[in-house]
Amino acid sequence: MIFQILVAACAIAGASFMALAGLGILRMPDLFTRMHASTKGASLGVALLLLAVALAFQDISVATKALLTTAFIFLTAPVAAHMIGRAAYAKNIPLWKNSVIDEARGKIETAVPQSSQTENETRPELSDAPPDSSQARRGDND
C-alpha cells in the first residue's frame, strides 16, 4: 500500500516536472534560458519516473535498469546542453535583450570575429541601458 502511494506520487511529480520543462522550453525568451529550463527539469522528471518504476516492480533487475538509465541521463544531459550552448554561442544566436551578463564573451570564438565587431553590434541585447519594462518581455525571440 505504501509502495503504491509512493509510486503514484513519484509518477505524478515526475510527469509534472517534465511538463514544466516543456512549458519552460515554450515560454522562455531565448535559447540559453530554454536550455536552463529543459535540462534540469527534464532530468529531475525522468529520475522521478524511473524511481517510480523501480518502486512499482520491486525487482532487482528492473531497479538496476532504472538506476542505469537515470545515471546515464544525469551524465549526458549536461554534456549535450554544453555542446549545444557552445555551438549556438559560436553561431551568434542572440541572447535575451534583458540579459545582464555574458561571461562567454571573448572566450568562445564566434562566427563574426569579435575583434572586428563594435560593441553591441551582433549582440544588441547586451546594451548597458536599463531594461525597458514597457516592452513585451516574452516571446521577443520567436
Binding site: 510527469a15 520543462a21 529543459s38 519516473l49 535498469k65 555542446m83 549545444i84 557552445r86 553561431k91
Partner: protein, 91 residues
C-alpha cells in the same frame, strides 16, 4: 489497490503528453536550429519517461530496455547535431 497505480499513471501520462505538446510547438516554431535541437532532446527525454510510465501500467519490463536505448541514441543525435552545427554544416 492496483487501481491507484493505474489511475495515477494514466494522469501522469496525460500531464506528460501536455508537456510534450509544448515542446513540439517549440520544435515547430523554433527560430533557430539549436532551439529545435533542444526541443528534440526534451521530447526524447519525455519519451523515456512515457515509456517508463507505460511499463508501470502494463507490467512489461522490456520497455525499460527501449527507454535506455532511446536515451543512448538521443545523446548521440544531440552531440552529432551540435558538432556539425559548430563546424558549419548548417547555415
Amino acid at each position: 489497490m492496483t487501481s491507484l497505480i493505474s489511475i495515477s499513471t494514466t494522469i501522469a501520462i496525460i500531464i506528460l503528453v501536455i508537456g510534450m505538446v509544448f515542446a513540439f510547438i517549440r520544435l515547430i516554431r523554433g527560430p533557430s536550429l539549436p532551439d529545435r535541437v533542444v526541443a528534440l532532446d526534451v521530447i526524447a527525454t519525455m519519451a523515456v519517461g512515457a515509456l517508463s510510465l507505460v511499463s508501470i501500467q502494463t507490467g512489461q519490463q522490456i520497455l525499460l530496455d527501449v527507454a535506455l536505448s532511446i536515451a543512448l541514441i538521443t545523446f548521440l543525435g544531440t552531440v552529432a547535431l551540435s558538432m556539425s552545427l559548430e563546424k558549419g554544416v548548417f547555415k
